[in-house]
Symmetry: C2
Subunit: 206 residues, 2 copies
């Protein structure tokens, strides 16, 4: 267990460890814990690749789970908007959920634009070494915009969505990503395969 990230508001609390060891969880599940953090522009293919990996893993008997920006915002983070502070808090909370899934021994795949390097580094710092994998889903802005699956770029260009990453707000590419996917050149299957290879090489699977 890594120590708490920051000093909590109340001091009337104690830090208690669970009684089921990480080794026992690994034994039960047949794999180690991992957070696969996909980051990239809207339309770059984060959710598509994450869902594909989740599906392939399920086929192999591994119960991984996709945390999706869209879904989390309906529940846990339904009180947050898209202003910079809200974005940071959105990513912080998702990171803490990843940490809880990690402690439960799970493989979790996240699909959030997560445009700020600092926010992603906060999440990385909350994970024990070798269990956090940043995957840069790199596709040129014009490709993402041409795809525009959700019609968001059109709205952003029309000024209907403020602070849209890559258009009217920054996107900071990772500097030390464990993996970079080029979804313009690679198929979804190739991208998913690259993630699985990473998990195998890092000893998470098997």
């Amino acid at each position: 267990m890594t120590p708490p990230a920051r000093v909590p508001k109340s001091t009337n609390i104690t830090w208690s460890e669970g009684h089921v060891t990480p080794d026992r969880r690994r034994e039960i599940l047949g794999h180690g814990p991992a957070t696969i953090w996909f980051t990239g522009l809207s339309g770059s293919g984060k959710s598509t690749v994450a869902t594909q990996v989740e599906s392939i893993l399920a086929g192999r008997g591994v119960n991984a789970f996709v945390l999706d920006g869209d879904n989390v915002r309906h529940g846990l983070n339904s009180d947050l908007g898209f202003a910079p502070a809200d974005r940071a808090e959105n990513i912080r909370r998702v990171g803490e959920v990843c940490r809880l899934f990690h402690d439960a021994g799970m493989i979790v795949l996240t699909a959030f634009i997560s445009p700020y390097r600092t926010d992603r580094d906060v999440v990385r710092a909350r994970h024990p070494a070798g269990t956090f994998f940043e995957v840069f889903v790199e596709a040129p802005l014009d490709v993402c915009e041409a795809r525009d699956v959700k019609g968001l770029y059109a709205k952003a260009r029309a000024g209907e969505i403020p602070d849209f990453s890559g258009v009217s707000a920054p996107y900071e590419p990772p500097v030390g990503a464990e993996l970079t996917l080029d979804t313009d050149a690679q198929t979804v299957e190739e991208s998913a395969a690259a993630v699985l290879t990473l998990l195998e090489e890092q000893g998470i699977l098997g």
Copy 2:
């Protein structure tokens, strides 16, 4: 999937379903999803029983997970204090985490005082029928106070902790709990066994 609990702040989001079905997750894990929500006074034995159940389940090859008030407050909810609004938000977020674990097919056991009926009902409403189990850990206040494992009652009586459930803030017992444990009369083993029987009878295990 149940619909989102409330309308999110942003409308630029869509509700996407995962591709791995609940049935497939059940097949992989060998059990169904469940949230076992322990509620009761400080010192009533919530964490002790929850951890015991987690441990017994691990012995049976079931990878359950305890979400503990103490631990969550170091991470996800480290920005929250103990004022009524913060307490409600604390429980809301934990409930949403339970929902995410539920969607991942997991059995999660929570150990939070969660003194307000309304807050607990919000969490219940976020779970599909038959997957949320409220367990009232009932021990008389004087018994909990005599145990005072963490020395909190002494501090609360000395006025050092404001809003302490059962002393200077209300505790509202459940009205429709799926299970009530009397930790004054029952051993930890007996309490844990009662929870396991509930999980078996409700078709979560096996």
